[in-house]
Every structure is written in C-alpha cells, then in structure tokens.
Amino acid sequence: MGLEAYLFVSLLLFLLGLIMAAARRSLIYVLIGLELILNAANLNLVAFQRFHPGAGLDGQIGAIFVIILAAAEAAIALAIVLNVYSRFGSIRPDDMHTLRD
C-alpha cells in the first residue's frame, strides 16, 4: 500500500477525532477525541518514516514519545475530570465557564 493510503486513513481518523472533541457533550468524549487525533498523528509519523528511506527510526521514536505524552495527558486529564465532577457535579463542558472573562 502506498503512502497516500496511510495518509488518507490518518486524515479520516483525525477528522473523526476532531468532530468528537468539538461536538460531544461529555468531557470523556472530548478526551477520546483527542486520543484519536493523537493516533492519527502517530500514524502519519510512522508512515512517513517508512516511506522515507534513510530516515532512521526517528519517526517511530517520535511516535513513542507521543504515546508517553498521551498516557500522561490521559492521567492528568482524567484526574481533572474527577476533580471537575466533584466540584460541578457534572462533566459536561457546557456547565463549566468560570474561566470566562
């Protein structure tokens, strides 16, 4: 399969994550959307590295770091979600706007 095929898959994955993060009504969904976006990015990284002879392993290593960050992000984000839940009694983003000017 060519590079375009992978890029195409990655693009679709990215768009689905994007819609999900923006349109769903629960913080958990927003986070899931973000995970999809990260996966799409990782797929790009790896695909480009594969189709770019002489690139070494940098693409994959980059992807590993992204995974590490994703793990950290998920941990922190979910902790925040818990905190939000205990404070607002809800995890709907619409219910939270105390950061407003």
């Binding site: 195409f8 769903r24 969904y29 999809l36 594969r50 839940y85 809800s90 995890i91």
Partner: protein
C-alpha cells in the same frame, strides 16, 4: 488482493469503524470500547508499516493502560444519561469537511517526489533492538528518554494530587 492489501483493509476498517462507533455511540462505556478497537487497528497498521515494536507499545500502553484509565474515569463519574449526544455537529462537520477537502486535494494532486513506490521499499527489519539502543545511547535520545521518565513521574504525583478528594465548595457556592 495481496496479503498486504488484505491486512491493510482489515486494520483500516477496525480503526475507522472503532472511531465511528465511538463518535456516535450514546453509551460512554461502549464508546470507550470502540476506541479500544481503534487502538488495535492502528497497532495493526503499524505492523504493516514494519514498526513491530511500536505496534506492541501501542497495544500495551494504549489498549492496556490508557483504556483502563478511561474505564476507571467512567466508573468514578456519573454519566449524564438520555440526552442527545451530539451538539452543533453541523459546525464541527463543516469545519472538518473543509479541512478534509483541502487536505485531500493536496493529498491526491500534490507531488510526492522522492517517495519510493511500496514495492521498492526495503523489507522491514525488527526494530526493538534499534529503538532500545537509540534510547540508551548518550548521543541520541537518552536525554529525552530520561526527561520522559521524569515527566511520567511528575504526572503520577500530579494526577494523584489533583484527583485527591477535598472538601471543596461546590460551584453554586462559588458564584
């Protein structure tokens, strides 16, 4: 259809299908599990790209670690049931669509000079040892690697600190 094409098709279907289900599913738990499917599909795609170590990592960390994290999160919060699960999807879809069109146009009309056809690619080699060495060699990624471990440690502490239950004033009392 060659074996490579077949596996690509299967994993793609798994990844995108999972994503679609996650997007439209009303139940959070099911949505999370659909995400699990996506993770696995992406891991398979890594395999087709010859990134065996990365595929394993994906399965272990994402499917194993992060997934569990989400399930815990779900269990500790009360889902908000029986409501329309998507709002303003039109706007999001429009933005995403515009972006998609732009990128697709670029994808299929742009030139990809220097990219060899898939059949000309060298056969993939096992990568685990190379990655391990790259992480541990001082002139390579050692610093970033160590930094990542520090980050994870900080995350661990931070997450515990944030999620700790405190007798907090509730929102109504704040405002």
């Amino acid at each position: 259809m060659t074996g490579a094409e077949l596996s690509f098709a299967v994993f793609t279907a798994l990844a995108l299908g999972g994503a679609l289900v996650a997007l439209f599913e009303t139940s959070v738990v099911r949505s999370a599990f659909a995400m699990f499917g996506t993770f696995l599909g992406v891991a398979g795609l890594y395999l087709t790209l010859g990134a065996d170590f990365l595929a394993m990592t994906q399965v272990l960390i994402y499917a194993g670690g992060i997934m569990v994290l989400y399930l815990f999160g779900l269990m500790l919060t009360k889902p908000s049931p029986h409501e329309r699960n998507l709002r303003r999807i039109g706007l999001a879809a429009a933005l995403a669509g515009a972006l998609a069109i732009l990128l697709l146009v670029q994808l299929f009309t742009g030139e990809h000079a220097g990219m060899p056809a898939p059949e000309n690619l060298p056969a993939p080699e096992p990568t685990a040892e190379a990655i391990g060495l790259a992480f541990l060699r001082a002139d390579s990624w050692l610093f970033a690697f160590e930094f990542a471990s520090v980050l994870l440690l900080a995350t661990l502490v931070g997450a515990v600190y944030i999620a700790r239950r405190r007798p907090e004033p509730r929102a109504e009392e704040l405002s």
